[in-house]
């Protein structure tokens, strides 16, 4: 159960087109990532709502194909 870094990026881009994304594969195992995402869509939203937008972009892969994605969402 792994997900490629590029795949994560493109799923997020698809759902949040203006997103500036930087992702790091923490363990080099395609399963533990850390991402910083900056977008206008996060403006005025709570952290819970912001993270939910990212999880939604990943279409159910979070917690399944993708074990760990540390998230840092920022408004731009």
């Amino acid at each position: 159960m792994t997900l490629k870094l590029e795949e994560i990026k493109s799923l997020i881009k698809e759902a949040i087109p203006d997103a500036e994304i930087s992702i790091e594969d923490l363990a080099g195992d395609e399963n533990h990532y850390s991402a910083t995402i900056r977008s206008k869509v996060f403006s005025g939203k709570s952290k819970i709502e912001q993270h939910k937008l990212v999880y939604k972009a990943l279409r159910g892969k979070m917690g399944n194909e993708l074990h760990a994605l540390a998230l840092n969402t920022l408004e731009r």
Binding site: K47, G63, A68, A70
Partner: protein, 112 residues
């Protein structure tokens, strides 16, 4: 989701002021993210109840539906979903978690 399970989760988060749904137990967490949140709560001397989702697959899937949140751990304070590991850590660093605890009248120690 299953009504009985929903009621069970409802009851627990009403009965226990601070609930952490986690992988493993507060004594022996079995995932780095659960460990991090559990340690943070201990650091603040917060009395909390840990629910080990690894021992109960219904609860593991149920809490994800209940909170509409795909990952574990999940923290509830007085019935309110606070977030997962990243959010809790960030709130702690900014002092927002401490504010929330004060607001909700949960006793904690501000250890530095």
């Amino acid at each position: 989701m299953d009504e009985n399970l929903k009621k069970r989760i409802n009851d627990e988060i009403e009965k226990n002021e601070v609930c952490l749904f986690m992988k493993g137990t507060p004594e022996v967490p079995q995932c780095g993210f659960s460990l991090a949140v559990s340690n943070l709560l201990k650091h603040l001397d917060i009395k909390f109840k840990g629910f080990n989702v690894l021992e109960d697959n219904n609860l593991r899937e149920g809490i994800k539906q209940y909170s509409d949140w795909p990952t574990i751990p999940q923290l509830y304070i007085k019935g309110e979903f606070i977030g997962g590991c990243d959010i809790i850590k960030e709130m702690f660093e900014k002092g927002d978690l401490q504010k929330k605890l004060t607001e909700k009248k949960i006793s904690f120690k501000n250890n530095n």
